[in-house]
């Protein structure tokens, strides 16, 4: 049986709800960073939503930025400290809704940071409102109580399809509903950090992640929902990989 050692970067338990994907993602970030030997030079930028739960959990310098502006905050830091490993961790509301402009232009500027987007199809921190970019048609949220309707609320949109046209270094989507997918997500995240280490350009990794609390599902059913529903609209895999050829 394989033995998984806790990364040294993890110094406290995640503050997330039980069964939340954010905690798994934090661990994958820490593992990737340590496997690449980057742990002594990291600056983490987290959005003030549920990503912020990693602030005390990981032993890195941290800044919690204004909701939605995290790609910009990371840009500012990377410009001042280009030799450091700078990552941005944010929700899908932050990255794709209120901060879509900021995400877009960090990508267009091809800033060599690693951005990790937690796609949980909902506004987690504020109690589970609809996410314009990622809530599925028919999904019930506290601001779409009868289920999301396309006619009045628009439809979910795969932002990685857009980002891949921005000529970025790397864009991929992973999931967490079984070990195979967790391993794949980790490979994507690690690749994002490797690209940054090699100064290759903007890397973005989106992760389909459960929010059992606001989905009002138990953790296992939440994972099943991702596999059976969310992944159908948001397919996992690599969207673009420039391979360092700018």
């Amino acid at each position: 049986m394989p033995v998984y050692k806790t990364p040294k970067s993890i110094i406290a338990p995640s503050g997330c709800c039980g069964g939340c994907g954010h905690g798994i993602i934090q661990r994958l970030i820490a593992e990737s960073i340590e496997e690449l030997g980057l742990q002594d030079q990291v600056i983490a930028c987290v959005d003030i939503a549920c990503s912020e739960w990693s602030l005390d959990c990981l032993d890195y310098d941290h800044i919690a930025g204004p909701h939605g502006r995290i790609a910009s905050v990371a840009t500012g830091i990377k410009k001042v400290r280009p030799d450091k490993t700078v990552y941005a961790l944010a929700g899908d509301g932050s990255s794709y809704v209120i901060g879509w402009t900021e995400t877009t232009y960090a990508a267009v500027r091809d800033i060599p940071i690693t951005m990790i987007v937690v796609n949980n199809g909902i506004f987690g921190m504020t109690g589970g409102q609809m996410n314009l970019a990622t809530t599925l048609i028919g999904d019930k949220t506290v601001s779409s109580k009868a289920g999301r309707r396309r006619e009045t609320m628009g439809h979910p949109v795969d932002m990685l399809q857009a980002i891949k046209t921005f000529d970025v270094e790397f864009a991929a989507r992973g999931a967490l509903y079984d070990t195979k997918h967790i391993d794949e997500t980790k490979r994507f995240i690690k690749k994002g950090f490797e690209n940054q280490r090699d100064n290759k350009g903007f890397s973005i990794i989106e992760v389909l992640s459960p929010c059992p609390t606001n989905w009002k599902l138990d953790p296992v059913d939440a994972m099943e929902k991702i596999k059976n529903e969310n992944e159908k609209v948001f397919p996992v895999g690599v969207y673009t990989d420039r391979g360092g050829n700018k």
Partner: protein, 360 residues
């Protein structure tokens, strides 16, 4: 020692002084009448080894600046009118993390999109603004190109000293005028100078977690620290110029472009035997209340000269004068005041033809 005299625009003097103060990060979005700052930075920032970013909007620019300041750089952004509105959220975030930054607000007149011509009606947003929550910005108001350079240079030191946002409040006239100016010496800033910055430290070394200082030191300590900071800034940083106030009957109060015209008005009035004086706030926050202490018995009232509809500075004058004397408003809204207009207004005041102002 070589004196560095140049002929420059106010906006350029601000940008060059910032670079000489060691500013190595600028992000902003174009808007008249301050775009020359951005354009100057686009040409000169990289030459000094810094970063210039034309942001996708003001909010993103300010968020980049927030990150750059947290990482230890001396940072600046600039805007005007609606663009400065968009900077408010991040000013609040800078404050909540005790981070320094220098911002320029070059006032254009009007509400909404307003005009692109000079105004002084963003006094409130500058002296009371800064987004949600409790905060104070030091606000410096240059009245010449030389002062644009001098005060910008000073602004970076003040921002660092207090770990606070410092604003340069100019107007379309001061920003756009060309004058002789002495540039300060160039210096470099060490981004590793302070222990509160994000540097990317090895595991095991104590980290900086920037997330509302209240979460880290608790509300009582934060409140005490902030209040002390506000009080110290208030008592230590008041700056002003007094012109012929010693025997004045009426004292004009004006800053920026209006204060220049007021100086002419004082001169012309004196030549005609009318005893006018002037208090020119150089800091509009902290408002120079000390300038209003120990004024002579001869003073019959104050005349605020502002390019606005309602007197925005009036409240501050009333508080400074503790309501001891009447306040009259010579408010020229979209127009730059004229010296004769001011002198005539004062003659009417002295003849009892003008009602004292209610600040509304």
């Amino acid at each position: 020692m070589s004196a560095d005299y140049v002929l420059m625009k106010g906006n350029e003097a601000i940008a060059e002084a910032a670079l000489r103060a060691g500013c190595r990060f600028y992000a902003g979005y174009p808007i008249t009448p301050q775009s020359e700052i951005l354009e100057y930075m686009s040409v000169n920032m990289e030459k000094r080894g810094g970063t210039f970013i034309q942001g996708e909007n003001e909010i993103a620019s300010m968020s980049m600046l927030f990150g750059a300041s947290a990482a230890g750089a001396r940072v600046m952004s600039s805007s005007s009118g609606p663009g400065f509105d968009l900077k408010q959220e991040e000013i609040s975030y800078l404050t909540s993390n005790n981070l320094p930054a220098v911002l320029v607000n070059s006032m254009r007149y009007g509400t909404g999109d307003g005009e692109i011509t000079p105004g002084q009606d963003s006094y409130w947003v500058s002296t009371r603004g800064g987004g949600h929550g409790d905060k104070r910005l030091i606000v410096l108001a240059p009245a010449s190109v030389n002062e644009c350079a001098e005060l910008t240079y000073l602004a970076f030191d003040l921002a660092e000293k207090y770990r606070n946002v410092v604003e340069i409040l100019t107007d379309g006239a001061i920003s756009q005028m060309i004058e002789k100016c002495t540039l300060p010496p160039a210096k470099e800033h060490d981004i590793d100078k302070f222990d509160w910055t994000l540097t990317g430290k090895p595991l095991g070394v104590k980290k900086n977690k920037m997330n509302n200082l209240t979460n880290i030191i608790g509300h009582p300590a934060y409140s005490e620290m902030m209040l002390n900071k506000f009080k110290t800034m208030f008592s230590e940083e008041q700056r002003w110029e007094s012109v012929m106030t010693d025997d004045a009957e009426l004292i004009l109060v004006a800053y920026g472009i209006s204060s220049r015209v007021c100086k002419t008005a004082v001169r012309e009035a004196r030549a005609a035997g009318i005893k006018l004086g002037l208090i020119r706030p150089i800091t509009v926050w902290p408002f120079p209340r000390k300038a209003f202490e120990n004024l002579p018995e001869s003073v019959k009232g104050f005349v605020t000269v502002e390019m606005s509809i309602s007197s925005q500075m009036g409240e501050d004058i009333m508080m400074a004068a503790r309501n001891s004397k009447p306040l009259y408003g010579c408010l020229t809204n979209v127009n730059i005041p004229k010296a004769k207009e001011i002198v005539d207004f004062c003659l009417d005041v002295l003849a009892g033809k003008v009602e004292p102002m209610e600040v509304i």
